[in-house]
């Protein structure tokens, strides 16, 4: 029985609706990229990367301190989250069937869903209040908390993709479980895990809310972990909500740098996963 006219029409309308939804979602993306690039390119210059912010009312200057701050904060976050994330990921994949592994997985997903502002509050109470001091350390701690579940889940997923025969081979040769994991299974999954870490870093570098009252902001160049530190995101926030035309210009330049970081990292990750997929296909 061929579909009657009405049903056929409904079906075509539905297909058109879905295609329309895709186009509709592309509009904001295109608009955001257009404005960030067109406004950002005009304001972005070498001084942006090498100069310090100028005093209020004086044009020019850059965000050198914020760029260094973002690098330090991301480094701190990675130093905390990579070991914890990878080892808990190993636990989840090695003992995948156990009830405790399910609990850890649930905790990781929960942590991932905690609003970033709440992470900031927690980091404030734990890492700012006792020292009575906003600090780079507290900011890195907050970002690290957000990074742990991403790395843990990525590691888990990638380790589960490693063929069981590799692990069994190592165990059959008399390796201990730790030996099998650290010298056979983990190295096999390492390229993927590194990709995951890069993506997580890109996401973390774009976070603002957890830094507002942990790392706070700093008008001066600082690399001290015990002092408040500037970051690209918080600086963009300050500039965007400020009253000066020149500040807005700087904010767009900062946004362009942030979007470029995200874009480059996702492109690299995509290329890397493609290569990995091809490698797996060959094996």
């Amino acid at each position: 029985m061929t579909p009657t006219g009405g049903r056929k029409l409904l079906s075509s309308l539905f297909v058109a609706f879905c295609a329309g939804a895709v186009l509709l979602a592309l509009i904001p993306l295109a608009l955001i990229l257009f404005f960030v690039i067109s406004q950002g390119v005009v304001s972005l210059n070498l001084a942006f990367f090498t100069h310090m912010p100028t005093p209020v009312g004086e044009a020019g200057g850059g965000m050198a301190n914020s760029i260094v701050g973002t690098l330090i904060l991301s480094g701190l976050a990675a130093a905390m989250a990579v070991p914890i994330g990878i080892v808990s990921g190993i636990y989840m994949s090695e003992y995948a069937g156990t009830r405790f592994a399910a609990a850890v997985r649930f905790a990781a997903d929960t942590l991932n869903g905690v609003p970033s502002i709440v992470i900031g509050l927690f980091a404030y109470v734990v890492a700012v209040l006792p020292f009575k001091q906003f600090s780079a350390f507290a900011g890195g701690f907050a970002l690290g908390l957000m990074m742990i579940p991403i790395i843990a889940r990525t590691t888990e997923e990638l380790l589960l993709l490693v063929p069981g025969t590799m692990r069994e081979g190592a165990l059959a040769l008399g390796a201990t479980r730790a030996r099998a994991v650290f010298s056979v299974v983990l190295p096999a999954a390492l390229p993927g895990i590194v990709t995951g870490v890069v993506l997580a870093l890109a996401r973390i570098a774009g976070e603002t809310a957890p830094l507002l009252f942990t790392a706070f902001n700093n008008r001066f160049f600082s690399t001290s972990l015990r002092q408040p530190i500037s970051s690209l995101t918080v600086q963009v926030y300050t500039y965007a909500t400020g009253p000066y035309e020149d500040w807005h210009r700087q904010a767009w330049a900062g946004a362009l740098v942030l979007v470029s970081i995200v874009l480059i990292c996702s492109l690299l990750a995509r290329l890397a996963t493609r290569r990995l997929e091809r490698m797996h296909a060959r094996n």
Binding site: V22, I32, S88, L145, T176, V236, A240, R270
Partner: protein
């Protein structure tokens, strides 16, 4: 097996398990620490904190009703806009589009999800808000008389917040729905086609099969929207008043914490803000757990359906 090896294996299990335990401890720790810190506010105001509309830090009066209202209102509006679009995208990518287009589209939607919240906020202030203001001013007076569109057309307000939230959760909902649709057995669609179904009817069958997972995906998006901070803070107008109008500047829980926490001086003020954070934490925790449960339960019923087939094949 030599004893030393089994001992090493036990040590490995405990050692890695300790890191896993750390994750569980962190989640509990967040709840406990925030609860302790909000004690002064909880003891002073009790439940009336959530029923009071007055937020006056200078006078020491704290009522969080406007924030919970603004958070729920903006998130519900965002979902109303985002859900049909996100599902349309998910269905287009997983069921309709040519294979060559699939990867690029997935990449593009993921890009939309990867743009930092602060960039959305910046774009919101300088592009979206003026555009919304223009639309608001051009609205005919007869519509402006409705409570939904009352008040001065500022641009900054509920409508802008809902729009920007919708843009931000669309990629999130669509990517999870896509995963869910992927897990629908092809037999569901093939069966429908075999009975003479049109494309729409076959997809409807697949979506119906995946309904629990899709509801889970939408709820996860809701959880995301509730906690979204920067972009909303920058466009919602930050005015602690309960209002129905889409034009009215309002406030959300995340936004008030982001704006006022660093400047809050006295203990009660800080504690009131932490309590808002605590409740935000609890709400997102419940919503996320429930939606994951829905998505998991769907994955599990799949397994139950699939297992007997495997067993037959093995026999």
């Amino acid at each position: 097996m030599p004893k030393s090896k089994s001992r090493s294996d036990v040590a490995f299990r405990i050692g890695t398990g300790a890191f896993g335990f750390l994750l569980i401890a962190l989640v509990c720790g967040i709840g406990v620490i925030l609860a302790i810190e909000s004690m002064p506010s909880i003891q002073k105001f009790g439940l009336s904190f959530w029923r009071t509309e007055i937020w006056d830090p200078v006078a020491g009066e704290f009522g969080a009703l406007p924030f919970i209202w603004g958070t729920l209102y903006s998130s519900v509006l965002a979902l109303l806009i985002a859900t049909p679009i996100a599902l349309g995208i998910a269905i287009f990518i997983s069921e309709l589009c040519p294979a060559a287009l699939r990867q690029p589209l997935v990449f593009i939607t993921e890009l939309l999800a990867a743009i930092p919240s602060i960039v959305y906020g910046l774009w919101g202030i300088f592009v979206l808000v003026p555009a919304v203001r223009a639309v608001e001013t051009s609205l005919p007076a007869s519509l402006r008389a409705l409570p939904l569109f009352s008040g001065p057309p500022l641009g900054l307000g509920m409508l802008s917040a809902a729009l920007i939230l919708a843009i931000m959760v669309i990629p999130f909902i669509s990517s999870i729905s896509r995963e869910v649709l992927k897990s629908v057995p092809p037999a569901q669609r093939e069966g429908a086609y075999a009975l003479g179904a049109t494309r729409f009817e076959a997809i409807r069958a697949a979506v119906f099969y995946a309904r629990t997972g899709i509801i889970g995906a939408v709820m996860l998006g809701f959880g995301r929207a509730l906690g979204e901070t920067m972009a909303v803070t920058m466009v919602i107008g930050n005015n602690p008043k309960v209002a129905v109008s889409l034009f009215a500047p309002q406030y959300t829980m995340a936004a008030v914490v982001a704006n006022e926490f660093a400047e809050a001086a006295d203990r009660l003020y800080l504690s009131a803000l932490v309590e808002i954070g605590l409740v935000l934490f609890i709400i997102t925790l419940i919503i996320n757990s429930f939606s994951r449960l829905l998505i998991w339960s769907m994955a599990r019923t799949d397994k139950v359906v699939a297992e007997p087939v495997e067993a037959e094949a093995a026999a």
